[in-house]
């Protein structure tokens, strides 16, 4: 068999194994009243893909190339991930990436470390060794044991390739590449089964449960312990589930999960492509953007994970972490005692009380992200605050609106954004939305489009009085306090976290559960980790609508003994 023919064969294997998955990804539709929400098949986000590869093969594996872009739906990538397919170009990218990873794994430099065994002869097939490696890696990548059929396919393909190419490692590489390009890896398909404990109800199966848990709490694959708990059935018992969740919450990997959720909720996927006018903001560069995201995520992780703190405090805390690059834009002193020429260091920093900084809304990541390339935007900031932090919907501007007055920052009659927006609001069509967004955003006007501080705009003193849902404030720090005290912020984060975990918007039948979660959140003094725990240990989190016949028939899945079956 030629190498080309072999490649076609392996590719065929991949498509055959996952063909069903390509046709099963229909966008989630709201369930009928009283019916559980559907289990969602989600494509791995780019971050998750990278996390899994690092988890399975170590951080030395380089990911070269681009993957299909993540898609955001209902304000979350994790929800968008359940509404996407893969284009043919995207599949080609996944395959290229897969081959690149596989060749690195079996390279002479790393093979001894990666493979648990050595072939009897490196130029010949060795089914036992290939099986040992592929079965182990396959169970991690697919988040479940390989089916007997899958195991046979991958090991056979590796053997045939090794014989043809006279290279054991080339054979293993091809099979590994096929696994990495398989929909079983790229998509988190959740299998549904009848719940034996509740007649007439359905739940996701144990391995799906393990996977949902691990991506929810760690943003990565289940570890061996969790897979074992799935296999033994422990995960389907309340005690077993509680034990696993408690273990996972105590793990340092929890921080990854918390960071991933807030990066998603805050829309940080837009940061890498954030562009600023370098004439106006010459210090705002790629390093600034990277560090700005990290600053906010570090701060959140510190408050919510390290200190097991109150979610509301992320809107008011003056404690944060900075690099020298960031400190220069914040215009604060930050000494790096590393040798000259050393890289910037992350250092804890507390903004002074009179700095106007406090909470994530005064971080560069929020201020710069929700600004225009060449100027700040009270409207964008107000809109983001309402939509991202309070889960309120701000309507899009009507068509054919004349923005000339707002955009002309050189008009001597309207020196400040407040003056320009007040003039703009004389148009009643615009006033409706602007009165929702602007009073919040205007209080952040002491921060320019790059997030740096300013007291004046075009020589005029900036007025930072504002209001949010009836709470008045006079400065930027007041905005954070208003969000801190706003019940909508708490309800919002709880709902977002539920949607993030489920991969879809909650359905009506889940309303009571969500309400209970919010009450528990309040009872736990708004400790975010407690909210995660409550969600992860809820039976409702794993409940699912009965499987659609087409979607389950197409995807073969193993039962707990590893045998293939169609679950009903």
């Amino acid at each position: 068999m030629s190498r080309k023919a072999l490649m076609v064969g392996v590719a065929g294997l991949v498509v055959a194994a996952g063909a069903g998955a390509f046709f099963a990804f229909t966008p989630h539709k709201a369930a009928p009243v009283g019916e559980a929400g559907k289990a969602v098949t989600r494509r791995l986000t780019n971050d998750q893909y990278a996390n899994v590869i690092a988890e399975v093969f170590g951080p030395s594996i380089e990911l070269s190339g681009r993957l299909e872009p993540d898609t955001r739906a209902n304000n979350l990538i994790e929800v968008g991930a359940g509404q996407v397919s893969v284009s043919s170009d995207g599949m080609a990218q996944y395959e290229m990436m897969a081959r690149g990873i596989a060749s690195q794994v079996v390279s002479e430099r790393t093979r001894d470390e990666m493979l648990p065994c050595k072939p009897k002869a490196p130029k010949e097939a060795d089914a036992a060794c290939a099986d040992q490696f592929l079965t182990r890696v396959g169970s991690l990548l697919f988040r479940r044991p390989l089916t007997a059929e899958e195991q046979k396919h991958y090991v056979t393909a590796a053997g045939e390739s090794a014989t043809t190419l006279k290279d054991f490692y080339a054979g293993v590489s091809l099979s590994l590449g096929a696994m990495l390009a398989s929909p079983q890896f790229l998509f988190r398909h959740e299998r549904v089964e009848a719940d034996p404990d509740v007649k007439g109800e359905f739940r996701i199966d144990a391995y799906s449960k393990a996977s949902r848990l691990s991506f929810f709490l760690w943003n990565s694959i289940p570890d061996d312990t969790l897979l074992a708990a799935a296999k033994s059935g422990e995960l389907h018992t309340a005690r077993g589930l509680n034990r696993q969740v408690a273990r996972m919450l105590a793990s340092p990997r929890l921080e990854n999960g918390v960071r991933a959720f807030f990066a998603d909720m805050f829309g940080f996927d837009a940061l890498p492509t954030l562009a600023k006018d370098t004439t106006l903001y010459p210090s705002f560069d790629n390093v600034t953007v990277r560090d700005a995201e990290e600053q906010t995520l570090r701060t959140i992780a510190d408050v919510l994970v390290s200190k097991q703190g109150d979610y509301r405090d992320i809107f008011t805390t003056r404690q944060t972490f900075l690099t020298q690059t960031l400190a220069s834009i914040y215009n604060v002193e930050l000494v790096n005692d590393a040798p000259n020429g050393g890289a910037d260091m992350w250092l804890p920093y507390e903004f002074s009380e009179n700095s106007g900084r406090g909470g994530v809304l005064t971080h560069l990541s929020f201020l710069a992200l929700h600004s225009h390339p060449g100027r700040s935007s009270p409207t964008l900031r107000g809109k983001a605050l309402r939509e991202v932090m309070l889960c309120q919907k701000v309507p899009a501007p009507p068509a054919a609106v004349d923005f000339a007055l707002v955009e002309d920052t050189s008009n001597p009659l309207f020196k400040t954004a407040r003056q320009r927006l007040e003039a703009h609001r004389t148009n009643p069509v615009c006033a409706g939305c602007h009165k929702i967004t602007d009073p919040v955003g205007l209080a952040l006007e002491t921060f320019d489009g790059d997030g740096s501080h300013r007291d004046t705009e075009n020589g005029a003193q900036i007025d930072t009085n504002g209001e949010l849902d009836g709470i008045k404030f006079s400065d930027a720090a007041g905005v954070g306090r208003a969000v801190h005290d706003n019940p909508a912020a708490l309800s919002c984060v709880a709902d977002r976290l539920v949607a993030y975990g489920l991969g879809r918007m909650p359905v009506e039948s889940e309303a009571a559960w969500r309400e209970g979660l919010k009450q528990s959140f309040a009872a736990a003094q708004y400790k975010f980790v407690e909210l995660m725990s409550k969600i992860a240990t809820s039976p409702e989190f794993y409940r699912a609508a009965p499987p659609a016949p087409t979607s389950t028939a197409a995807l073969s899945a193993p039962n707990q003994s590893g045998q293939t079956e169609v679950v009903r």
Binding site: D285, A327, E333, W346
Partner: protein, 374 residues
Amino acid sequence: MRWWKAVLLVSASLAAVSAGPARAETRSYVVTMFWHALETRDDDCPNGINPKIEVQYQKDLELLGYSKGEAAELIKQDGERGEDSNRGWETDKLGHILIDRARVGGKPVNAFMHPYATIDPVLITKTGKYAHGFNLDGKADAPGNFQNPDTKETGIDHQLARVFGCFENMRGTLKAGSAFWLYKWSSIKETMPAWTISVTGADLSKDGPVTISVGEAMEAVRYNGNGVGRPNMTYRQDPDPAFAKNVYEGEIKGGHIKITKPGSLYMEQDPLLFPVFSMEKFNADLRINPDGSLIGLIGGYQPIKEIYFAVASPSLESESNYAIDFPGMYYSLRKNADYNYDAKMQSNRNISAAYQIMAVPAHVAPATRNTVTN
């Protein structure tokens, strides 16, 4: 005196005592651009500028005793060697002659290390009456003094302008600098310890007396992607006592920060290219821009030895690249030096000089603080 008046008087006195002096504030900067303050004018070099280096080398060879034809042949042969990859230093006949064009005890020695032992090729120097700088000696009309082309102030001491004024690569404008200085500065700016300037006064938003200190940082200057100095970075102050003396009385007046009582300056730049930068009667006049940055002049009497070794970076390659005959430049420096007479040398050791600098706001912190916690 009525009793209540007495009480008021005592109270007022006590209040005055307890209030004490107003708290001083400090604003710091880091120097982001540096070049020789030379404003080229059309009438600077009425006899032309110094020739290209090949022409200058022809002259140097003739001074060494080679005939016109022999010198031309040596230069021609060297040119024919071109970029031949087999060209080796061992066979670089012209290179050896030029490097060792100094004579000590009749023996050829390195001319860049012993410029005084060469024959003065007598380079062309700047004439004219205009140059930027400072009146360092307080005399308004001393011979050789310049006039500021903008303010028309007379008595400007800037003899370094004469020395450098007629080299093609050093000619330029105060605003944009020259090819030579831009090259030099870009070579060192991201590796040399940053220069910091700190201004302390009661209220820096108003005119009034200030204290100006110039120091060195432990770090190099940080720049933005567009090449402009990044403002508001934090720099650690080098605690070396050599820099601690760089403190001057000054003032803020009319949007300028000025030294009013000049003193000595000791600084270091890049250890390879500009090892030491020192001045006597150090002076500064820096304009405060609307964005808070500074631009302006520093000046004083600078040792010619430091200038020579900094500019010459003594090597034949530098000499060829910069098209400056270094031993000739040495003689020009010596002939135009105007301060600190050395009887043994029978010439002055220092020359009046002025440099244009730009600086951006920065945070300057003590270097001894240990704030690394992660």
